[in-house]
Structures are given as C-alpha cells and as structure tokens.
Symmetry: C4
C-alpha cells in the first residue's frame, strides 16, 4: 500500500504518477487564478462564495498531498525542512492560520504558494543547463550587482545635487533620487522624475552611457556561459 502511494505521489515515472503530478499542478494554477479573481473590486457575492469553496477544496487536496509526502518520504524531517517541503507547508499554512485572526493582513502569506509553480520544472533537463550557465558566471554576476549598486548610488547623489535646487518636491533626498536612478539605468523610466537642468541632463547622459555598458555585462556573460553549456551538450 505504502509502495503503491509512493509511486503515485513521490515518483512520476508511472502513468498514475504523471497523472497525479499533472492534477496537482493544474490545481495550483487554478488556485492562483482564483486568488487573482478574489482581488477584483466589486466582485459579485455569488462568485465570491464559489471562489471560497474552491479555496477550501484546493487546500484540502494540498493538505492531503502534504501529509502523504511527509508520511511516504523515508526521512520525513529531511523533506519537511527541504526547500520544497517548506514551500508545500507555506502553501497551506495561511488557510489554517486565518481562522480567528484578521484575514486581510495574513493573506499576503499566500504569495508563497506561488513558489509551488517551480515544481513544474522539477524534471526538466534544460533547467540544469541554465543553472550550470549561471553557476559558471556566479562571481562575475556578484561583481555586476555590486558595481550596479555603486553606480545607482553615485547617480542618486549626482542627480540630487543637480536637481534638488530646482525640483525639491521630486528629488527630495538621495533616497528619493535612487528611484530615479534605478528606473533610468534600467531604461524603465516611467516619466515621473526626470532632470530639467542642463547640468542634470549632461550628468544623466554620462550615467546612461556607463549604464548601457553595465547592462550589457550580464547578457554578455550569459551568452558566453550558454556557449560553453551548449558545446558540452
């Protein structure tokens, strides 16, 4: 009996195992969709009760799955404190916690349920190639992040001195300028903050050109890492 369930719940080589995995994955996606629909304003109370019932149904299924995983895995403690074990637990936790306490504030914990979608990749071999490519360039990426942080800080201080005197409401402090620096260097730039002084514009031009060079680094690194990975294939 235990061996039979193990093949279905834990393994996914058999037909029944694959079916079980697919069922759980579809249920996760549906519960995510249901969760999103709940945030719609002026939602009909009829739909709300359907969504609540579906939430109860999916949590029951996820709880049974979690208990089965704990029961079936040889070393249940190892599973419970593994990455997926904790995520499986956090995916059902908010539901049980919400009884008695204020629902609104706790709902944010449901975000963690999202991580469950990573399960979809579990057996994908291409993911290993991406992982090994990222591992190859780990150190360089850390340098890139530190250098980017430095550039953002430098840009924030510079723009603060140029723009604060003329736009004190927008460039209030170095911290407020950081939002400008992040959105500009990543070329997101919503248009909510931009330099209007000549000095600020010249400074921004210099910063953007350094920024373009920097943004090229991770792409260049990944390209070369993938080249090595694909050659090994």
């Amino acid at each position: 009996m235990k061996k039979f369930l193990y093949k279905i719940v834990i393994e996914s080589d058999s037909r029944r195992g694959r079916f079980f995995d697919l069922f759980i994955q579809i249920l996760i996606i549906l519960s995510l969709v249901a969760f999103s629909i709940e945030t719609l304003p002026n939602l009909d109370s009829r739909y709300q009760s359907i969504l609540n019932n579906f939430e109860i149904f999916s949590v029951i299924i996820f709880s049974i799955e979690y208990l089965l995983r704990v029961f079936l895995t040889k070393s249940f403690l190892k599973y419970m404190f593994s990455f997926f074990g904790i995520i499986d637990f956090l995916a059902i936790l908010p539901f049980y916690l919400s009884t008695g306490i204020d629902l609104r504030s706790i709902r944010i914990f449901r975000l963690f349920r999202l991580f469950r979608i990573f399960k979809l990749f579990k057996y994908n071999k291409a993911l290993d190639r991406i992982n090994s490519a990222f591992n190859e360039i780990k150190n360089e990426l850390v340098i890139f992040l530190v250098a980017t942080t430095f550039l953002i800080y430098f840009a924030s201080i510079g723009i603060y001195y140029f723009e604060n005197p003329v736009q004190p409401e927008l460039f209030k402090s170095v911290f407020h300028s950081m939002w400008w620096a992040v959105t500009t260097l990543t070329t997101v730039s919503y248009g909510d903050m931009y330099p209007i002084t000549n000095g600020g514009k010249i400074f921004t031009t210099l910063i953007i050109f350094i920024g373009i060079g920097m943004i090229s680094i991770p792409t260049g690194l990944l390209a070369s890492a993938f080249s090595k990975t694909i050659k090994n294939k």
Copy 2:
C-alpha cells in the same frame, strides 16, 4: 501546358517563375498598403473607390493564383491544408464573405493576409540558420517563458498589495497590476501606472533587477546558438 504553368506558379527557378513570384509579392505589399490607407479617417470618396477597385483587382489575381496552385500541385489536398495553403485561402476569403454581411466586423479577418509576406522568405537559406538556432534552444526558451510568466504574476501580486491601498483606481486588481508588471519588466513602461509608495518602489527595484537578468537569458541563448550555427556554416 500544365508543366509550363507549374514552372511559373509553383517553381521559381526560371526567369518567368521569378517574375511571377515578384509580381505576386509586390501585389501583396500594395494590397497591404491599400488596406492601411482605407483606415485613414475622413478619406476622400474618390480615393475610396480607387482603393475598392484595387482591392477587387488584387483579390481576383490572388484567387486565380490560389486556383492555379490547387490545380497544379500534385496532391492538392496536401497543399490546401498546408500552412501556406490555408493562408492563401484566408487571404482571399474575407472578400467573398463580405458580400451581403456587415463589412465592418469581418474585416478583421484580413489580418491573416499579412502572413502571406512569409512567402518572401521561402527560399532564403539564412532563415534556416535562424530556425536551427531557435530549435537548438527551444527547451530553454520554454523555461524562460514559464519563468517570466511566474515573475510577472509574482510582481503583479506584490505591487497590488503595495499600491492598491493608495492607488485603488490604477491598481484595481491583480489583473490590472499585470499590465504594469508586463510593461515594467520589458522596460516598455508607458508611464500610465507606476508605484508611489516607498514599499512599492523598493519592491519594483528588486523585481526589475530580476527582470534584467531574465531578459538577458533569451539574448544569451540566441547568441550561443548562433555561434554554433555560424561555426557549422
């Protein structure tokens, strides 16, 4: 006679075949331009009748070409249900359907005529290299798309919790926040929605940096795949 037409319509090795192909391709482009001009507001009725006449002329040519292709191809069923066969049919269908029924609503089907432009590439060998490069990294691209979808969903929920309380009109629901997530992570960002809370700005910064890393992945993958393809050349 059939062999003579086959060389002109289906093949494009002979001088006449190339001329026929070029004629059809120019006609397609002209009919696309005509279609675009028709959408101009306050169009002179004189121009409208010229465009209508040109539409009739091009559909007649396309219909003759379609019938010739059906008649000349050995296995005409195979052609009719092939990718280009269906597109050739859809390119002339709206015209014949529009008689009697409301023109306005059906005109959207004309979009499919556009696919005909792919014919321009039919014999291009460089296209094969691009195709083989994309095939090389197919699995990785699927993972990228799934991961991006996940990130967009995660970003949508996060920004909803940060911004909904202060901007309930813009960040109405998780679905409304998705539009923000898509435009921000792709750095399109029109400036119609952006975070104004400190929490939302810090969250956006984190999400953008993960997003930059992600957007680098397809470029890096393609670069490495092209490296392999060009080496084989």
Copy 3:
C-alpha cells in the same frame, strides 16, 4: 612640390601628414559645434557674426583641401565620385549655394557635412573587424529587418482594431498606430500612446513578448559574429 603636398594631404604616415589630418578633423568638429550654436534661439548678434566668420574661414580651408585632393589624386574623377569625394564636396556646397538664395531652406544640406566625421575612422583596424562581423551576418540581419517590419505592421493593425473605437483621436489609422508599434516594440515608448482596453493590453503583451525575442536576434547574431572575428585575431 606635388609629391610634398601629396604626403601631407593624402597620406598620413609622416608627421606633417598626421598634423594636417588632425587639423582638418578638429576644424570639422569645431564647425559642427558652431553650426549647433547657431540654432540657439535669441543668440547675441555679436556671437552670430563670430560664428559667420568662423563658417567662412572653415569653408575656405575645406575648399582648399578639396581642390588639393582633386589636384593631387592620380585619377581625380575616381576621387570626385568616390564616397568621400562626394561628401567632401557636399560639405562645402551649401556655403556657395547660399549666396543669393534663401539661406533658411538650404541649410538642411549642411547635415551631409557630418558624414565627414567618418574620416576619423579611416585607418582604424578595429573598424574592419566590426565590418567583417556585420558582413558575416548580413543575410540574417535583412531577415530580421523584414520580420520586424512585418511585426510592426501586424501590431499596428491589431492595436488599431482594439483601440480605435475608444481612442479615435490617438489611434486614428493604421499609419498612426505604426508610431505606437515602433516605439513599443523598441521599448522607447514615450507614453504619448498606449492601449486602455483590456483586449488592447492583452494584444500588446503578446506583441511585446514576440518583440523581445526579435530584438534579441541582432544582439545574438552580432555576439556570435564577433566571437568568430576575435578568434581570427
């Protein structure tokens, strides 16, 4: 005498030749700066006369240089109809044409003088590597441009149908929508036009994701072409 001038004007191996080249290049840059200053509104008439005098001075030098080049080059016709020969001529033409005729409308020809800056690269060997990398992927780049044109057209028609009914002033016709398509797919997006309907937003999301894949293509191609070029170095 002719040989002496040839070494200075045409060649740049000798010390005098390098000095002459540098002098001309600095004069070009200064004349470009002067040209830009002239466009400033409310410019002091004193500065204007200085700029005019400098313009006369630089055109005289450029004219002497042009005549020397024509006189010194063995086959002067070959030079006059070469790429740089035509540019050298166009750089001085507007000045001589402007006498008698309305200055304002002809000044646009001065744009061509800009091309002269390419001379700065004349002997640079790294430029050859960039050229050979572009040559390597020429065909693929043409496909990319055709495919991008297709995508822009497709996006323009799609967004026209979604947004024209609710934003007829912005999405007036397929041509007006093309501006939106170009700025969106290149992630420039000024924020002057954006979809507000749900259908338009979903359509834009799809188009952006295809667009990201496309924008990756030239970068990926160049990366692989440079890899080959650098290996040959």
Copy 4:
C-alpha cells in the same frame, strides 16, 4: 611593531588583516548611508547631531588609516599618488576643508568618497576576467562610442529641423534636441520630449532602428570577449 601594523593595515591574509579590512569597509558603507540620510528634508535636529558625530568618528578612523598607509608603505610617495592613495585622501579632505568655509558648496567633493567602495573588489579574481574582457574589445568600444556620438548628433540635427517649427519650446536648439536623442536612442525616453510631426516620427523610426543595431554592438562584443575569457579559465 611596524611589521605587525603592516600585516593588519596593508595585507589582508591574516585573520586580523581581514577583520581590519572588513571594519573599514563596513564603516565606509555606514558613512555613505549617513551621508544619504543627511539629505533628507525636515530631518530631526537630534538625528542630525548623531549623524554629525558619526561623521567625525568615521573621518578620524579614515584619517588614522590614511596616515598608517602613508607611514607603512615602503615608497609612501608612490602610494600617495596612486589611484587608491588619491581616493583615500579625497575621502577625508572635505571634512578638514569644511572648517571655516561654507559647508554647502564643498559637500559635493564627498562624492569622491564613493570610489572607496572599489576597494571591496581589490582581491576579487573574477574582476580580472571582466577587465581582460574589456581590454580585448577596447578599440571596438571606442569606435562604438564615437559612432554613437555621431548618431546622437545626427539625430539631434534631424529632429531639430522636423520638430522646431511646431514645438519651438521643447526643441529649442540642436543642444536641446540632444537630450531627446540621448534618451530616445538609449530607450530611456521619459516622455518629456517626443516628435509630433509625421516627418519627425518617420525620422525617429529610422534613427531608432539604427540605434538598436548600435546598442547591440557592445553587448555582442562583450559576449564574445567573455567567451574567450571563460575558455581560458
């Protein structure tokens, strides 16, 4: 005694040396954070005095460190005029200069303190790989910068002629148009300036497409340079 201090201050192989380096690095980061907090408007005077005291404390530590470095390095002149020697000096200079003179205007010199963060990378070997990759493509990057400057200038003049007649307040001169050219070609585009004429839009489309090709160049170059660097690893 000198040998003992040398091991702590200059070298970082010993446990004490590593501790000293870490302490200085954390102090630098904290002093940067303190500096940013000082720019916050309406800051409580109580916090301001804490920040001032922390500033005095950190400058004392940095001064002692600087003097120790000068005293301990064999050739102290070589250190004082090295890159890090000058930065170490500039990091403490503003504090001593500020006594007696107006604080506000001199504070901008504190920006240089930021460069100290580069020390964090001092021993990182991955940084060498990034450096060697950049060295590999140095010449090509210079060409890219010159070509980009040319394109920005060309775009500025073009858009000035198209947009100045209808938007004289925004596209005032070629210099004002340069800000548009920089933000558009880097796809930053805040939305503060954009073409509204048909000619300006068509010109922008052409310029953007050339710009995309250009922005691909540094990424492509870096990718190929990293490929070589990683292969050597």
